[in-house]
């Protein structure tokens, strides 16, 4: 049903600039200041000023994190959105990759020639712990009476994946080891470290099978991109990075009515993006990937949803080093959410920004070893059902 999107594109769309702030557990700057820092840096990197920007897209996850119930409007001034067509988009954890998707349609439709796309999250406001904020995403009648914690559903999914694919915690922990190590080369990183599988297994057990080091941290931070139409892009840069395909879809929130070992919503979104990009064999045509990794098993789950490996095949390829930065198909060369940090919407946009830097060969020490022509970034969110995918090429 989602494999036949009726999409009509007036202009090719390129990414021409990117910016990011530090990701940290808590920051002095206000959400607006963080948004402004990232936006200003993205404009600088594109060689543009706010005057050159036609439209603004803002992404931020639940209002409750910042404690402000109108986050689009609240962030608009810091995001350069005043007196311009400005919109805020939100699909939970999927937001970060939904931001470039929404910015893409603004340009692809011919509505705007240039878009500033900004994602911000400040989770440190919530007391006693941002986990409490997640209490408000559950179904009020069927789920909340059980007193759930968000980690429950990830743990349930991880356990199912382990069972379905016969994967050990040791193997899954390798994702955390890889991503935290990759993040040592990322200047924004909050949770970069050289750790071992034993460190992961010996960290505090939160909800078995999830240990502390299987999970990305709580973070503050912002990221931004500048998108431009083909004409504008060629005018401002010699090395535009093209958005070749976008895809997004929702499954339903009745997550306990479906197989948890495979992310169908990611696959549907990926099919849409690949079709648009003319990709028939993603496992061959994609050079590197930034799959969403708020939990270590999630990267494997999403690699399979993105059809970069067959169902249940990702753990074996991981063990063989296939997904290392020097491997056949590097995944999360940035360090991902596990290593760079997880200011929710900003973390997803960080992944899209990583495609931009890698495809321009500007990723410095993080640059993947093999030549790269095409990458995919993906995020996932809300209550186990939003899938967002973007494919970029140089």
């Amino acid at each position: 049903m989602v494999s036949r999107p009726n999409i009509h594109v007036k202009s090719k769309v390129a990414v021409v600039g990117a910016g990011i702030t530090l990701f940290r557990r808590r920051m002095l700057e206000t959400p607006r200041e963080l948004a402004w820092e990232a936006a200003r840096q993205a404009l600088d990197s594109a060689g543009l000023t706010l005057r050159d920007i036609d439209c603004v897209v803002i992404g931020s996850a639940p209002d409750a994190f910042d404690g402000v119930h109108m986050k689009g409007e609240y962030l608009a001034d810091g995001s350069g959105g005043l007196f311009k067509p400005t919109v805020r988009v939100y699909v939970g954890g999927g937001t970060g990759v939904f931001v470039p998707i929404a910015a893409w349609w603004h340009v692809a439709s011919g509505l705007c020639r240039t878009v500033l796309a900004v994602a911000e999250e400040k989770m440190s406001h919530a007391r006693p712990h941002p986990q409490g904020v997640f209490a408000y995403i559950w179904d009020p009648v069927l789920e909340r009476p059980l007193g759930p914690n968000l980690l429950w559903i990830f743990a349930l999914e991880m356990r199912r994946y382990m069972h379905k694919c016969n994967v050990s915690k040791e193997t899954i922990a390798l994702v955390s080891v890889k991503n935290k190590r990759n993040a040592l080369d990322h200047p924004a990183a909050q949770a970069a470290a050289n750790i071992t599988v034993e460190d992961v297994l010996n960290s505090e057990v939160l909800v078995w099978p999830v240990n502390r080091l299987d999970v990305s941290p709580v973070s503050d931070g912002a990221a931004a991109l500048v998108l431009a139409s083909e004409n504008e892009a060629r005018r401002v840069t010699d090395s535009p990075v093209w958005i070749e395909g976008v895809g997004w879809t929702l499954d339903n929130t009745h997550w306990y009515n479906r197989e948890l070992g495979y992310p169908r919503y990611v696959q549907y979104a990926a099919r849409m993006a690949y079709k648009m990009a003319g990709i028939e064999r993603p496992w061959r045509d994609i050079d590197f990937a930034e799959p969403y990794d708020p939990f270590d098993y999630k990267e494997l789950h999403h690699i399979e949803g993105l059809m970069l490996a067959r169902p249940c095949e990702a753990p074996k390829l991981l063990e063989e080093g296939w997904f290392d930065r020097s491997g056949e198909l590097p995944t999360s060369p940035s360090g991902g959410l596990l290593g760079v940090g997880n200011p929710i919407a900003a973390a997803g946009l960080m992944k899209a920004a990583e495609l931009f830097w890698q495809l321009r060969y500007e990723a410095g020490a993080r640059q993947v070893k093999k030549p790269v022509h095409r990458g995919v970034a993906q995020a996932w969110g809300d209550l186990m059902q939003a899938g967002t995918v973007v494919v970029m090429g140089n």
Binding site: I20, T21, L22, F23, R24, R26, M27, L28, E29, E37, A38, Q41, S45, S124, P128, H129, Q131, G132, A135, P140, V141, L142, E143, P145, L146, G147, N149, L151, W152, A155, L156, M158, R159, R160, H163, P187, V205, L206, V207, W208, P209, V210, D220, G221, N252, H254, W255, Y256, N257, R258, E259, L260, Y262, R264, W357, R360, E362, A363, G364, A365
Partner: protein, 181 residues
Amino acid sequence: MPDGGKKLPGTYLSEKDLRALPGLVEHTPDAKYMFSAGQAQSRFLQGLREGKILGVKCPRCGRVYVPPRSYCEYCFAPTGEWVEVSGEGEVHTAVVSYISTFRERMEKPEIIAVVRLYAPGYTGKRDEYEFPGMFHKLCGVSEEDVKTGRVIGMRVKPKWRPPEERIGSVTDIECFEPVKS
């Protein structure tokens, strides 16, 4: 980054720094909500009070929905016939939680599961992927049973609260417990 890691904007605060800031306001929002259970869930909750687990069947595709909805998500048609399922099913996945909703360490861990319910006559075309099921607590099994994987696929049934304690909530089922064979 193009600058290869020149200092990025942003100022990190430690917990101590944070406490020293002016303007930390201790405040508990006094927001209260009354939720309507709606057409399908109301009947489901009444069923629970009577010790029954009710579902609803789509007349077009044959999917059985537990918990029920008043429309089929796939056919976008109103659902029809109500069905009662026994409540027996098998454990799809289960975990042990050591933390509360607010991330505090709990004294006694809880076992949480997704139960795939048996529904005779379920003809959903994708019944390997979709199924009638409930999210609930598991009892009568040990942490060890969860960690070794013994519980996955285990046959379970609801453990009902006594009728006089039921209030028409998912908590009228205390937990799901193993079926003794």
